[in-house]
Symmetry: C2
Subunit: 309 residues, 2 copies
Amino acid sequence: MKILVVGAAGMVGRKLVARLPELAPESVDLVDVVSSDGVRALDLTAPGAAREAVASRPDLIYHLAAVVSGEAEADFEKGYRVNLDGTRALFEAIREAAYRPRVVFTSSIAVFGAPFPPKIGDEFLNAPLTSYGTQKAICELLLNDYTRRGFFDGLGLRLPTICVRPGKPNLAASGFFSNILREPLAGKEAVLPVDASVRHWFASPRAAAGFLLHAARLDFARLGPRRNLTLPGLSATVGEQIEALRRVAGEKAVRLIRREPDPKIQAIVAGWPRDFDPRRALELGFRAETSFDDIVRAHVEDELGGRLP
Amino acid sequence: MKILVVGAAGMVGRKLVARLPELAPESVDLVDVVSSDGVRALDLTAPGAAREAVASRPDLIYHLAAVVSGEAEADFEKGYRVNLDGTRALFEAIREAAYRPRVVFTSSIAVFGAPFPPKIGDEFLNAPLTSYGTQKAICELLLNDYTRRGFFDGLGLRLPTICVRPGKPNLAASGFFSNILREPLAGKEAVLPVDASVRHWFASPRAAAGFLLHAARLDFARLGPRRNLTLPGLSATVGEQIEALRRVAGEKAVRLIRREPDPKIQAIVAGWPRDFDPRRALELGFRAETSFDDIVRAHVEDELGGRLP
């Protein structure tokens, strides 16, 4: 099996690439908008780039590349150019190449917008409240139609919010969900801008890589015509996150969380999904963590070499 | 109020245009892909055409233009070019013009695909099973996002299947729903390819024009962030259609329907919606026929000058 990963240098991309040997691929081609170790530069929005990306006719294409939510909101044109036109260019290039690879696309729970039922089911409408969510929802529709027409065999995966995100704190509105764990686990302070009662939907980076590997092994004949899945995750409150931190790393870590209510972030987060009933993905064998302790421990093991501060 | 109608020469367009005087417009600009009486030629997919269309800064833009379902399925590239790229070009031209008109877009119940609940509610997912339905669903998402970003004030209207469609019988899979009424009402034979138990969702051309006029008068502040509505219609079986024909035009008309089961058409129709619970549109004052006799009578009055064969 020849594998192409588009967006290989991103956080989820790197987690996936590290585990690709589990699929025993014949070859691996890693591309991203900027080159890095083992990853060559390829901008899907450049003329001819998508065609070049699939010229070797990879059997499995992971399309993970995207401008993130905050940037797509701040720069309307760039968001549509990269997240919609870039994806469409890739899909068109595959159609023109006239073979039928498997395409695994990372979508997001941002395709959903409030108001929500208590648990969002597999038949709930996509009414996104961000341009990023709109672009992902459009690409899901394209993926479904290109699959139905036989141009490729697609699967869209709506990732939960990834937590604990490794790396530095970022300015995304969702950043605090990871910051309040990652920073105290490294002995540093973190700011909590919302109330402890705020509930959201999570999976670890390790689970995200697991979803993508599972998608490579899955029997697609089981999917039927609806090719976009809400993945399993863990519904947890900020308070439950903090209790998990306390159990894994003690009171000393929890004391590093500084409460600084931010009405702007509170308003944004109020429109986000809180809980799902991802029945189809569970039936298809996708699995995420079932306790926040596991999510915290995955970070300690995978990012901190098992060491606590 | 200055009004622009894109797709003014189509069936729904002509019904709307005939009633635009009810809105007492300051000016009316009618365009379609080919010119006809009072309608100038303008192809939204041609470079600069969309910009030219909105150069006069119309206050209300009706966007009705589309390649129909059968053609979008037969010609993949044309369907996407006209139904998606054409619509996006119009939306982009409005964004560039930097004013905030009202945009009323005709979508379709083709945004829904089987399996369905017994009645499709306002929160049911869009999982289209045609390229046409995919293109409409994508345009709905764009309309919603452009509205949320303040580029225009949009409303997408998912029309029921229009019945009785005036004109000649066409080869669309849905054609028989109109053929079995229109042809007998004109003293001609019609073919029924499906069972009398087949159920579908209908509104008259008169109701369609009524929806579009209502959208011009509606207080958009009542809409909230979800700008695409499933419109009211009448859920009826083919048997109920035939009974209405019998009541309005007698046994003689019914005898002109020839049953010729067609497994291909039966298979297509089996994937179509049968019934809806369009609560939001009803609350917003949209109204369709509530009996099939009214739909048949609307055709006799509007197309046949009140005369029966």
